[in-house]
């Protein structure tokens, strides 16, 4: 595959922008603005359109990385950004109030893409909140009749995120 478009989505504050920044070989294009609502209590800035970065895997595979806004009011951007995407990374903030409900929102919105492309789930900030554990996430996916790889990931650690992406790309290469 010449180039692969991957999309990072997931709950606000889960680390989509941070993950793309950690991975990208080019200056990341982002559309962060000052948060004016309750979100400002958790983070100062929030993405309202998209993030964009690029990286090359060790085997030379070029990846184009897009990040979506997290809040549901920007869901029109989710559809736009998924156009032509081959893989989806759902990041869930385990220290959020309702991580499994958050996951459900993205599974529901992106179900059509998940069924037709490949996806992985990255659970972030497990160091700050141990529960729910990965087993609970797997059980939750089973209820939804989904089998997706789930990683506990520190999005600030490039190697950590690369490992997750390599798993996703391997799934894509197997599928195509």
């Amino acid at each position: 595959m010449k180039e692969i478009k991957l999309v990072f989505t997931g709950s606000m504050g889960a680390g989509k922008t941070t993950a793309i920044s950690a991975l990208s070989e080019i200056p990341v294009i982002n559309t962060d603005v000052r948060a004016t609502d309750e979100a400002a209590l958790r983070k100062e800035r929030t993405t309202v359109a998209m993030d964009y970065g690029e990286m090359t895997l060790s085997d030379g595979q070029k990846l184009r990385l897009y990040g979506t806004p997290g809040q549901e009011r920007f869901s029109y951007m989710w559809k736009i950004l998924m156009e032509g995407a081959l893989g989806l990374i759902i990041l869930v903030d385990n220290a959020g109030e309702h991580p499994l409900q958050d996951l459900d929102l993205y599974l529901t919105h992106f179900r059509q893409y998940i069924d037709s492309t490949s996806a992985v789930i990255g659970v972030t900030r497990m160091d700050m909140a141990e529960q729910p554990g990965l087993d609970e996430y797997y059980d939750y996916l089973a209820q939804k009749e989904l089998q997706l790889p789930i990683f506990s990931v520190d999005v600030r650690d490039r190697d950590n995120v690369v490992m997750m992406l390599e798993a996703l790309v391997a799934m894509l290469e197997f599928a195509y």
Partner: protein, 127 residues
């Protein structure tokens, strides 16, 4: 973001905009992170969604002009089969979105919208 008094005063300015310019169909003030603050319209538009999309577009405009080192993005114009939509900064946190169904009213739309944006900025600066 805005106090109740500021919302009322801002809505009043939008009302004046629509009263003084019959070609403008709707006007919305939104935060740059997509929350509707004030609105006024003649027809029934989905203004909540317009507010959120306005923040997305304005932010993209800011990102594009920064990338091209062209200074601040003043406004974004969407010219369509059924009318024109203009997006412009009021200040660093707020965006004004206005629309007209008149295809030949771009100059009028921009001129009156800019004046309204300046009035809102002045109002919020003074309160």
């Amino acid at each position: 973001m805005l106090s109740n008094l500021e919302k009322v005063q801002t809505t009043q300015l939008l009302k004046s905009l629509l009263q003084n310019t019959s070609e403008i169909c709707a006007a919305v003030v939104t935060t740059l992170d997509g929350h509707l603050c004030a609105k006024e319209q003649r027809d029934e538009y989905a203004l909540e969604r317009l507010a959120t999309m306005g923040s997305t577009l304005m932010s993209l405009g800011d990102t594009i002009t920064a990338e091209l080192k062209m200074g601040a993005c003043r406004n974004i114009i969407s010219e369509n089969e059924g009318g024109i939509v203009a997006f412009m900064h009021i200040n660093q946190d707020l965006v004004l979105v206005t629309l007209t169904q008149q295809l030949n009213a771009l100059g009028m739309l921009l001129a009156h919208s800019r004046r309204c944006a300046a009035e809102i900025a002045k109002l919020l600066h003074n309160t």
